[in-house]
Amino acid sequence: MTTGEPLIVLDGVNKWFGPLHVLDDVSLSVGKGEVVVVIGPSGSGKSTLCRAINRLEPINSGTITFDGRPLPAEGRELAKLRSEVGMVFQSFNLFAHKTILENVTLGPVKVRKEKPAAARERGLALLDRVGIANQADKYPAQLSGGQQQRAAIARALAMQPKAMLFDEPTSALDPEMVGEVLDVMTSLASEGMTMVVVTHEMGFARHAANRVIFMADGKLVEDASPTEFFANPRSERARDFLSKILTH
């Protein structure tokens, strides 16, 4: 699983939203093939952390390196980096005016300049892999939330990313659809994809993660293996958080 070689490295990252210190001196290293689950109460900065990795949120200080290179400033270089980092959003964000297949092939054709026919073939294979090949010609609004999120995962995978970022991928889903999305994520994890997953799905954290990161008030409070974290959280803050979510 983990090869040890770091792919994503955050060092002393700080970010403020006005007076709010959303990322407080966060340092974190994610190895190739590693699955890191980020949990914590809402407002703890976990989404911001995830979005900072592909610079959808610029940071105020510290450094973030991806695959050995520091994140470039806005421009062509950054676009190239983003194409190597897949991102899955809480609200799916499928392109509303494009069909599911067009959503998946847009990046390969426009960014990677792949031939449309080749991209289409690969796109269909990816849709098949996430189980929605029969929805290829529909528009996002015609699909259920779970299907949309699987399409969004396929769209990210179509870029053959080196890592995938998941920003609360199941939080906007009806409960019966959470499973189908987590299944896709679990299979990705087992195939060795490097993943940073912000989630409230403790089951996924337990069985698919190599490491669990616990964040509170913008700080990275704990960084442990799932077994260790869930059985024996070190900080009071984490114990408190777990007691609240695991009692129901």
Binding site: A79, F89, S91, H97, L106, K110, A156
Partner: protein, 224 residues
């Protein structure tokens, strides 16, 4: 002879409205292109471009069109010597098109910008996340979705443009309102009928235009 049967008057009437249509058509195309470019500047990450777009809108949206058209004639042509055609009428026509376009582009820009704001930010974020550039994000993802909410305001802008085209009469193009003024001077006994005919012709052109844009806006209404 009666005002409405004299062939000279009919010719003047037809040519007056043809000028209006030509002014509207050419200016609409230029204003659309320019307005979309200005809107792209106003949402771009480059401060200089944003400033340029804002300055353009601030200048032309807040200047009376008559002044803009006068400037095109007395400033660009008389003083700076910009001549766009050897034919006098053609020259005034193109000067008028410049004035109408730069003025209308300011309104197109603001309509497009508000249309861009109706597209959820997640759409642009997802586009950037797969590695599309700013220009690609705008062209492929944001503008096509913004178009749908911009069509209806475009209709209003086009209608205003068509009526504004009469202002080019002030720098000497014999367009519809100038023809009407001449007829009023010659036929003092038929003032009301002349007014009604010219107003009626504008209405006959513009009411269907309004309905067409309303229909188009409904047809393109965004599915989410």
């Amino acid at each position: 002879m009666d005002v409405f049967t004299d062939p000279t008057n009919i010719d003047a009437y037809v040519s007056g409205f043809l000028w209006i249509l030509k002014l509207t058509g050419a200016s609409a195309v230029f204003a659309l292109v320019l307005g979309v470019l200005l809107a792209a500047m106003r949402v771009s990450p480059v401060p200089v471009l944003r400033g340029f777009g804002a300055a353009w809108v601030g200048t032309f949206r807040n200047t009376p069109l008559t002044l803009v058209i006068f400037f095109c004639y007395f400033g660009l042509y008389s003083t700076l010597g910009l001549s766009l055609s050897d034919d006098l009428n053609r020259n005034i026509y193109w000067l008028g098109v410049i004035g109408l376009s730069v003025y209308t582009a300011a309104f197109v820009c603001e309509a497009v910008r508000s249309g861009i704001n109706t597209v959820p930010t997640g759409q642009a974020e997802a586009a950037r996340a797969i590695g599309l550039s700013f220009a690609q994000t705008l062209r492929i993802v944001v503008l096509p979705q913004a178009t749908r909410s911009v069509v209806a305001p475009f209709g209003s802008i086009l209608i205003a443009l068509c009526k504004n085209a009469t202002i080019v009469g002030t720098i000497g193009l014999i367009e519809a309102s100038s023809v009407m003024k001449d007829l009023l001077n010659s036929y003092g006994n038929a003032v009301i009928p002349i007014f009604l005919v010219f107003a009626g012709t504008f209405a006959a052109i513009l009411i269907p235009t309004g309905y067409f844009f309303g229909w188009l806006a409904n047809r393109l209404a965004v599915k989410r």
